[in-house]
Structure formats: structure tokens, C-alpha cells
């Protein structure tokens, strides 16, 4: 194993632990904080894969914005504590389905991709290269996404305002 792979395994173990705690924590705020662990480790995985622009976007948008949004949502709605309040009665079935999904995916990728080391050189995904690709090949989807974000912004404001507002 190369040093990159050792670093990846350490980060992946931390991210997996965080993900397990997100789906098993008995306190919703703790679940949100464990989500920070998982999202940060995913960002570090992007860095290890030399996708630096996406890594910083991941840290900014996910850790900086989306988790804060979750915490605000938990603050405005009641946050009960305890396994019975947070989980439903079908945990066993859900566990089996999750295990089956993982088994199926693992079998598929064992089947499709070899563990042989390939000598592909990692091309850094800098802001320059990503931006060039966006504005050369994906201008229309980019505009569509910006329109979607605007619509979501207005929709969220309209949905969550009080009815007696003018």
C-alpha cells in the first residue's frame, strides 16, 4: 500500500464511523455533528484524489452551509431524544436492506474493477480546469442549476413564512 492509500484508509474509517453514528445516534444534534465528521472526511478524500476545487466546495457548502441549515431546522422543530423517538419499528428490515445494498454493490465492483495497481497520473482538478470545463461544455446546465437554486431560495421563503404576513 502506498502512503496515499494508508491516509485514505484512515480517513475512510473515520468517515464510516461518523456515518454509522449519524444513523444510530440517539440525539439529533449529535447526529448533525457526526455528519460534520463524515462530510469533512469525504472532503479529505476529494483532496487525496487531487480534486482540490470540489474538496473546498464540499467543505464550504456542506460543512459550512448545509449542516448549519440542519442545526437551524433542529432548533426550530422539536428535537426529541431517545431511540424510540428517532427510529421506527422496522430497524431489522432496514438493516437487512442496507446490508443487501452494500453486498450487491461490493460484489458488482469486485466483479468489474481489478485491484491491480494502475499507473494513472492524478490530474489536479483545479478551479481553472473545472471552470474551463463548466464554461466551455456545460454553460446551459450551469444556468439551469443557478435558476434551480434561485427557485429553491424563493420556494423556501414562501413555504416557511407565516400565513398572516402581507
Amino acid at each position: 500500500m502506498s502512503s496515499q492509500e494508508i491516509a485514505f484508509v484512515i480517513v475512510a474509517v473515520a468517515g464510516t464511523f461518523g456515518a454509522f453514528r449519524v444513523v444510530s445516534a440517539r440525539n439529533v444534534v449529535h447526529a448533525a455533528l457526526y455528519l460534520v465528521v463524515t462530510l469533512s472526511s469525504v472532503g479529505i478524500v476529494y483532496l487525496l484524489l487531487a480534486a482540490e476545487f470540489v474538496a473546498w466546495v464540499q467543505i464550504l457548502i456542506y460543512v459550512g452551509a448545509i449542516v448549519i441549515l440542519f442545526l437551524f431546522g433542529l432548533m426550530l422543530a422539536k428535537a426529541p431524544i431517545g431511540r424510540e423517538a428517532l427510529d421506527n419499528q422496522r430497524r431489522g428490515v432496514a438493516f437487512i436492506v442496507g446490508l443487501a445494498v452494500f453486498g450487491g454493490l461490493f460484489y458488482l465492483l469486485q466483479d468489474a474493477f481489478s485491484w491491480e495497481r494502475s499507473d494513472v497520473q492524478l490530474a489536479p482538478g483545479t478551479a481553472a480546469s473545472v471552470g474551463t470545463s463548466i464554461f466551455r461544455d456545460f454553460v446551459l446546465p450551469f444556468e439551469a442549476v443557478s435558476f434551480l437554486l434561485l427557485a429553491a431560495l424563493i420556494g423556501a421563503i414562501v413555504l416557511s413564512r407565516k400565513d398572516d404576513a402581507p
Binding site: 475512510a12 468517515g15 456515518a19 449519524v22 448545509i66 452494500f102 461490493f106 494502475s118 434551480l148 420556494g155
Partner: protein, 100 residues
């Protein structure tokens, strides 16, 4: 160089965990968090294949997925707060207005 199946295995673990969370949780905010886990697994796959195939397109699509996830969380939490305001609960198995 990180071998591709290693990265894909991590993504598969995250995705399966997200599936379990969506099915097992009854608090709507926790269901949204599990959906975020699944979207992150998809993003890891996009980045990994982008580097494996030496094409930047995968990273562009990862950015699009992040943007759509941000929009989804904003709308989702607005709906959750609206449901809480009207029904005093955000348990997804008690909100059965559309069930017949």
C-alpha cells in the same frame, strides 16, 4: 495513486449506511441527513471515476450534485418546519395526509 476499488468500497459503505438511515429513522431531519450521506457516496464515485478516466467532467457533475443537494435541503427543511408548525410532529410515519 489510490486504487479505484478501495474508493468505490468506501462509497458503497456510505451509500448502504444512507439507505439504512432512510429506512430506519422516523425523524424527518434525520432522513434528510441520510439522503445527504447517499449523495456524498455518489459524489465520491463521480470524483473517483473522473480521476480514473482522466476527464474533468465528473468533477463538474459533482459540483452540480452539490448544488442540487443544497437546494433539496433548503426546500426539505422548509417543508419540515411547515409540517411541524401544522402538526406538532416531524415523524415521517405520523404524517399520513396523502395516505388512503
Amino acid at each position: 495513486m489510490i486504487r479505484l476499488p478501495l474508493v468505490l468500497t468506501f462509497a458503497a459503505v456510505l451509500f448502504a449506511t444512507g439507505v439504512y438511515g432512510v429506512l430506519a429513522r422516523r425523524n424527518a431531519v434525520l432522513v434528510l441527513m441520510s439522503i445527504e450521506l447517499m449523495l456524498n457516496a455518489v459524489n465520491i464515485n463521480l470524483i473517483a471515476f473522473s480521476q480514473h478516466l482522466q476527464q474533468i467532467t465528473g468533477q463538474v457533475f459533482a459540483l452540480f450534485v452539490i448544488a442540487v443537494a443544497a437546494a433539496e435541503v433548503g426546500i426539505g427543511l422548509a417543508i419540515v418546519i411547515l409540517i411541524y408548525r401544522n402538526r406538532e410532529t416531524i415523524n415521517v410515519d405520523e404524517v399520513n395526509l396523502l395516505k388512503w
